[in-house]
């Protein structure tokens, strides 16, 4: 791109940004949007935190499909993972190994805490899963082969239950007379915790696998 074209492009974007900004500034900050509806139904959702209620109950279908998207991204990455040469990591760093040995147990506890606390304050499966995946990435930085040695197949099996348990809970709620993912009222809290627990594990394993790749299925490496 030549200089003139770049400036023209920047100018065009500036005009668009200005237009969008003026539209956004006109959006009234008053009114409660969907908040009042969420708050009205919150006591029936099984949890006390509005965001968790939206994610796992009111819009559970979106969250279910999002877990499917995660798996699809992973399958896509697997399909591409052969014949890529990855540079060996420098794992012989004392500070890193010492820090990781200290941090990983803490991160596991933090993930479990985030999962539990999601019922009544910010937290939940995605936050816990991200923390758990971070612990896995730290371990991989110290010892790239830890997963294939330590957990072998279990790690790969754990990719599935997030979607599977969500699906089964959804189908079970249909059998009990509701719509898909319309939990029975008195069981909603425990069902959400069940779904979130498995979702957290699957999210963590999926994110870590996206980072680390899997020689087993990749064919290369």
């Amino acid at each position: 791109m030549t200089g003139v074209v770049r400036w023209a492009f920047a100018g065009l974007l500036a005009v668009l940004a200005f237009g969008l900004a003026s539209v956004v500034l006109q959006i009234p900050g008053t009114g409660s949007a969907l908040r009042s509806q969420v708050m009205a139904q919150l006591p029936q959702s099984g949890v006390d935190h509005a965001v968790t209620a939206v994610l796992l109950n009111f819009r559970g279908y979106d969250t279910f499909l999002e877990l499917v998207v995660l798996l699809l991204a992973l399958f896509g990455a697997w399909g591409l993972s052969d014949s890529i040469d990855e540079a060996p990591l420098d794992t012989d760093i004392d500070v890193l190994t010492e820090l990781v040995a200290f941090l990983v147990p803490v991160l596991i506890v933090v993930a479990a805490y985030l999962l539990w606390v999601g019922a009544y304050s910010p937290g939940g499966a995605f936050q816990g899963g991200a923390v758990l995946a971070g612990a896995g990435v730290l371990l991989s930085l110290c010892d790239p082969g830890w997963r294939s040695r330590r957990v072998e197949r279990i790690g790969e099996v754990l990719l599935v239950p997030g979607v599977l348990v969500f699906l089964l809970v959804g189908l079970a709620s249909m059998l009990l007379g509701g719509q898909f993912l319309e939990y029975p009222r008195d069981m909603a809290g425990s069902l959400i915790l069940l779904v979130e627990g498995f979702a957290m594990l699957s999210i963590a394993v999926t994110l870590h696998t996206l980072f680390a790749g899997t020689p087993r299925f990749g064919g290369g490496a």
Binding site: A14, A17, V24, V38, V51, I84, D85
Partner: protein, 100 residues
Amino acid sequence: MTPAQLYALVGIGLFFVGLYALGVRQHLLPRILALNIMGSGVFVVLVALARRSDGVDPVPHAMVITGIVVAVSATALALRLMLRVAHATGSATLTDTGDE
């Protein structure tokens, strides 16, 4: 101007900074980063506009939480694709056929 509106404007700014980089840069790595910055801008706008006069609307917050995880996995897939392009063509850029 309320703080929420200021955050929304910052989000729009991030989006267009990313869009500019996406149009200008040739290498795929800055382009993937640019897409991420655009996505972060959208998240900031959503979170900022969730603030209402009587409290915070939880629906956009839930959308952003799912969006972040999808963005991370999409980025990982994009990076894999970039490595594949680099492996196949010798450079991590997309050029028109007959351009070289």
